[in-house]
Symmetry: C2
Subunit: 326 residues, 2 copies
């Protein structure tokens, strides 16, 4: 119901999603009347695959997470996460208030034993593949032990596509002595864990280099790196747009080379990488960017489906059950 663009985008993406994948059913939680009014008039798939679940309240983007926990238990966000707890759904996707979604998810779904708090993890595009980057803002201050837990969770996600994923710690230099005390202790924990293929420190300019398959940091650092990269991409994209719209000659040129510009736009489209996972929870919760368009929201739904198929929560639980032979 929330996100910057409201349920219209989520509904459009949901319809595309269910039409694309035969193996999913959808539970749509929110103001039922409003949601039904957004459904297509022409049925393109079996109505039995969609269930509406009415929720009277909405968590707004400005709501305080703790206040939501106390007072918004009839909200669509709460009911969505509760449907996972009650085994009515395998995964949920929301474009709403991140802090509230995190608080509700942690409260209702719990983390697995051995995991103090969930971490927000996102796949960043690289030249060859993707790099899993966490935590992106769930935990402002992290202990070295938490960073170690994030490394274990991130490695599970990377293992679905890569054998022996390389795990790195984000730092302000690659030299062995660099960084805060917490990062230095985390380095030792990662180095000594036989479950992890620790490959050293990386700097924030390596986010897209593919030098590591998993990059671990605290939520403050991750949030800054992610936002700085978003801001830079926006700045450059505005410059490109302005250059090609400066005058009619430039506009004409941009029409001629439109296929190239379109290809470039597709390759760099942030919608392609939408969908951040809350790792460490006992069920799959995926956060879509607040301003996600239909394509981006669809991508977040695909991330959720993939994590259910890959049984990511169970495999994370397994990772924390195994006693490492130190």
């Amino acid at each position: 119901m929330s996100g910057d663009l409201g349920p219209r985008v989520a509904m459009a993406a949901a319809q595309k999603f269910i039409a694309t994948f035969d193996d999913v059913d959808l539970l749509l939680v929110g103001n039922e009347q409003q949601l039904r009014s957004l459904a297509p008039t022409k049925k393109t798939f079996s109505p039995s695959r969609i269930t509406y679940f009415h929720a009277s309240e909405i968590v707004t983007m400005d709501d305080d997470p703790l206040a939501v926990l106390r007072h918004k238990q009839n909200s669509s966000m709460w009911c969505t996460v509760e449907s996972l707890k009650n085994n009515l759904a395998d995964a949920c996707v929301s474009a709403g208030n991140t802090g509230a979604l995190l608080a509700i998810s942690k409260h209702l779904l719990k983390t697995f034993p051995g995991i103090e708090r969930p971490a927000i993890c996102k796949a960043m595009p690289t030249e060859k593949n993707v790099t899993y980057f966490l935590d992106l803002g769930a935990n402002i201050n992290c202990s070295a032990e938490q960073l170690h837990q994030f490394a274990l969770m991130g490695s599970v996600l990377a293992l679905s596509t890569i054998v022996m994923p390389r795990i790195a710690l984000l730092n302000i230099g690659t030299e062995n002595v660099k960084g805060t005390d917490i990062i230095q202790v985390a380095k030792t924990l990662l180095q000594n864990d036989p479950r992890l293929n620790y490959c050293g420190f990386v700097e924030a300019d390596s986010l897209f280099s593919g030098d590591a398959d998993v990059i671990v940091c605290d939520g403050f650092h991750g949030n800054i790196a992610l936002k700085a990269s978003e801001g830079t991409a926006n700045f450059i994209s505005q410059k490109i747009h302005r250059t090609f719209n400066k005058n009619w000659i430039h506009k004409l040129i941009s029409v001629i080379i439109w296929p190239l510009l379109k290809q470039l736009r597709t390759e760099l489209d942030p919608a392609m990488y939408n969908g951040a996972s809350f790792l460490g929870l006992q069920k799959t919760v995926v956060k879509s960017h607040g301003n996600a368009n239909q394509k981006a929201f669809m991508q977040a739904l695909i991330v959720a489906r993939e994590q259910v198929i890959q049984k990511i929560p169970a495999r994370i639980q397994q990772q924390f059950l195994v006693k490492p032979s130190l």
Copy 2:
């Protein structure tokens, strides 16, 4: 003598610099024979404007700053900074080891009373103007008082082009309650200082938005934001390059639209914004990016000249002498 590309780049930039600005003389510190061999054979300006100062040692990019302080007092970097201390020069520029340059500068030049440590500050391009961003890595852990000092120093720099510069704190959200305890205390200090036009928190995606004229953060956060933005710009620029070089048709198109691509490249060229200042020192020290080309090194020299003309160190000293009327 150092930097990723050695003295060749610095010498070429120095020659361009002295030819462009009538009001500067140069002191070139390093291996004199090597430097002289890089000088142009054809004299384009009075030789009296260039003085060579022989230094036998070189600080390498991998040298430990503390070891440099103890054992490399004959290095070109040490002698350069010492020339400022001895009033042989008004400002120095180096593309060498940042940590070593900072340690030597702090040791020889000292900070002004009231300033605990220098901060690294850089002008970031925005749609309208520039935003001064500090600290970019000089101080891993900063107290709220240090962040306050950075705000005062940054505001002096911004005051050279802007009346009442807007000062912001980098945070992971713009809501008033967000961030670490240190950031919360710093917010109160900035809000209550009548010398500062504090405008609130900004997120890292606002680095290029022009929403603030000065953005203040600790060196760890600043370094991550700057590097993430550099990494993103590189990633996008590689994508653009690859798109326009994919096959002969694309190459042909890129030849046709070459003026547009050139304009775009010029506008986004990081060389245009090279030159980070070590603010808080009693003299002007400017750090050029290690991999700066001639144009970028020239830009760092221009930054240094500008700060001498604007008397930035004296004005920072003044800022810390004035007792705020609280």
